[in-house]
Amino acid sequence: MLLLDELLLTLALVTTAALALFDRQLIRACALFVLFALTVALAWWRLGFPWLALLEVLLGAALTGAFLFHALGVMPWARAPRGRLSRWRDPVPLNWRRGFFRLLPALAAVGMLGIALASLPAINEAPGPLRLSGTVLFGLGLWAFALQRHLLRRLLAFNIIGTGIFLLLMSLAREVSPAAGQGLVITGLVVALLGTMLGALLIRRLNGLDGRRVMASMKNGGGP
């Protein structure tokens, strides 16, 4: 029963994350991200980390969501998007060839992680659904981060990679030293929020200044 429960939660996590990452309708993507963050909070609750659940709801869902919507310029009085960067639909279509080549580094990273996880010493319990979902979220997020050019979608991808790492971390630290694990995750959550906040404010500001030149300079600069 418990296993079925965890499997359902894993499935919900991965589905909401994938939808949030690959939806080109950005408002819907951000809404899905908030849903994803709430699912993560539920997962923390089920794992017996109520503090992490509370922080995830506050920082991950409420504040991060608010900043993402702020970056999109979704206001009660705004009817239509203005400016290129806050366009509510990502204009760059998904190209299968490009998608495949951007998948390779993500797969390599996940493979490397898999090798490391396989050689864990015996003090750790057998891998559960939690570790699996953490790894899948990490891979999905990396793929999306490499694939997408839209700054907001990259911020979403960053947040989802981060959540994958938090889940992995707690699955590793749960037995051996939960206090250190929680310390790391709480720091990570605050950093992710501050990073998203800076990114969202920057997107708004860049949009206000000169969207077209920024897009060009970002394209020339390339990415990681």
Binding site: P121, L172, V214
Partner: protein
């Protein structure tokens, strides 16, 4: 190597040390908030207030040099944060406080002249600067991975914030790239920490040093940690974000960033390698190869750069290559070689920090005087602005590595270590790097000595700004004459078995 890092100290901390360290971490934050409130207009006020953390550091120096290396834990709820102070920590703390004092004293004049209107950015400068200095101090002091992670993240976010302050499109676009890369780097770091925690159940470096066993888990964790840190340190293939960020940043911010922020990531990476994989000679040679590429590529790009600030920024990439040579010289070599390379590495770090901060401030002054960003715009500068050019030149002496500067002593030590280890390639790297740095420095001077100069958008700049750049440059030069003092500090013992 672990005892050199002061991680094996067994004696409890002397009374008062923990409190003074907390003061040292808290003071910059407090001063930052006060700075935002009062928005100081005079460099002298800022300098005298910034003396307080420097005094606290001096007190620590006195205490630690009499009682030996200190290590203690700070309990925050169920967590135990490990901290330590040894000679290296003290040297880096002193460097941080001194450079902060110089940059902070430079900032009010710079804001008054270069940033005309009382923009919001001017108020944000101080708290961000305070956060950055506090997190740097935390990184030098930290002896466990959680504290290092907190320090690294605080420093990274404060650095991004400082880079964004100019507020125009170029700064924001470069800052956005920097932000994304810094965030990715911190995720890689966190994943590496998670693997180490899962494998061995602890985060304190001294404990991990005895617990870890070589294997795929350790190697993947180290690869992730190193990738994240080298990305933040702008090591060779991961350096592309550096020049655009510096090109549009404010001068005092650039100076601190190139002098300290990049070095902090390098410091953490080297410390982790020495503690966790002290025998990974092959991987260390790989990092040495990256350093070689950085020296050559950074030097070439600095030589070809069109803007003055780009020359200085690319020279940072090149000079960081020398520091990366520390990996192959310290890891998997004999103790005699490692002892020389150890001294050379940290002296190079200190010398470069002083010289690079001086060079950025001098370059910023030249840009302010002439109103020109391009290297060609320096034509005739030798006659009109001799003091700024003199500071630039003295800083360049240390950067190129001519005697009697600290840069010379550091390179001499590194050369000596490479000879003793029989690592011939690094000799060649040091020679090529010296030639390249001489080439890009003399290119700037060639333009400045052109006599038939056109007109200038002449500007009055406070004399204090020139003086600060000159003092820093002189410090980099004269440190070479008194190099025994920092080297003696490095070999401070006590508490170590």
């Amino acid at each position: 190597m672990i005892e050199r890092l002061g991680l094996m100290a067994t004696q409890p901390a002397q009374p008062g040390i923990s409190a003074v360290v907390l003061l040292l971490l808290g003071l910059p934050l407090l001063l930052g908030v006060l700075g935002a409130w009062f928005r100081p207009l005079r460099g002298g006020v800022v300098a005298s207030v910034s003396l307080l953390p420097l005094l606290a550091t001096a007190w620590l120096l006195l205490k630690v040099s009499t009682h030996g290396v200190q290590a203690w834990t700070l309990d925050v709820g169920p967590l135990a944060l490990h901290l330590r102070i040894n000679g290296l920590t003290l040297l880096l703390l002193l460097l941080t406080q001194a450079l902060t004092l110089a940059s902070a004293a430079y900032a009010p004049g710079y804001l008054r002249v270069a940033v005309k209107e009382r923009s919001a950015g001017g108020a944000w400068l101080w708290p961000l600067l305070g956060t950055m200095v506090a997190s740097l101090s935390l990184i030098w002091l930290a002896a466990d991975l959680l504290t290092l992670y907190v320090g690294l993240e605080l420093m990274g976010l404060a650095a991004v914030g400082l880079m964004l302050l100019p507020g125009h499109v170029e700064a924001l676009a470069a800052g956005m790239r920097y932000l994304l890369l810094a965030l990715v780097g911190s995720l890689a770091f966190l994943l590496g920490v998670a693997l180490l925690l899962g494998g061995w159940g602890r985060l304190d470096l001294a404990g991990l040093a005895t617990a870890v066993e070589p294997g795929p888990l350790l190697w993947v964790a180290m690869a992730l940690l190193s990738a994240g840190l080298l990305l933040k340190a702008a090591a060779f293939p991961l350096h592309t974000w550096l020049a655009p960020v510096h090109a549009s940043a404010w001068t005092p911010v650039s100076a601190l960033h190139a002098a300290l922020v990049i070095k902090a990531s390098f410091f953490i990476a080297l410390q982790l390698w020495l503690v966790l994989v002290p025998d990974a000679a092959v991987a260390a040679w790989l990092v040495g190869g990256m350093g070689t590429a950085a020296v050559v590529w950074g030097g070439l790009m600095a030589w070809r750069a069109a803007k003055i600030k780009d020359v200085v920024a690319w020279s940072t990439v090149s000079q960081l290559g020398y520091l990366l040579l520390a990996f192959p010289l310290l890891i998997g070599t004999t103790p005699a070689v490692a002892a020389i390379a150890w001294e050379g590495t940290w002296l190079q770090l200190v010398a470069h920090a002083l010289a690079k901060a001086a060079m950025f401030l001098a370059a910023g002054n030249l840009i302010l005087f002439t109103g020109e960003w391009r290297v060609e715009g320096l034509a005739g500068a030798s006659r009109r602005f001799p003091l700024a050019l003199l500071s630039f030149g003295i800083a360049a002496i240390s950067l190129v590595g001519l005697p009697p500067s600290a840069g010379f002593t550091a390179k001499w030590l590194l050369l000596h270590a490479a000879l003793a280890a029989g690592h011939w390639p690094w000799l060649l790297v040091l020679a090529v790097g010296t030639l390249l740095s001489a080439a890009y420095v003399f290119r700037l001077f060639r333009f400045s000595f052109i006599e038939d100069a056109p007109h200038f958008g002449l500007r009055r700049v406070p004399g204090g700004m020139d003086l600060i750049a000159l003092l820093l440059a002189l410090a980099a030069l004269l440190l070479g004459l008194v190099a025994q003092w920092p080297l003696g500090l490095l070999s401070m013992t006590g508490g170590a078995p």
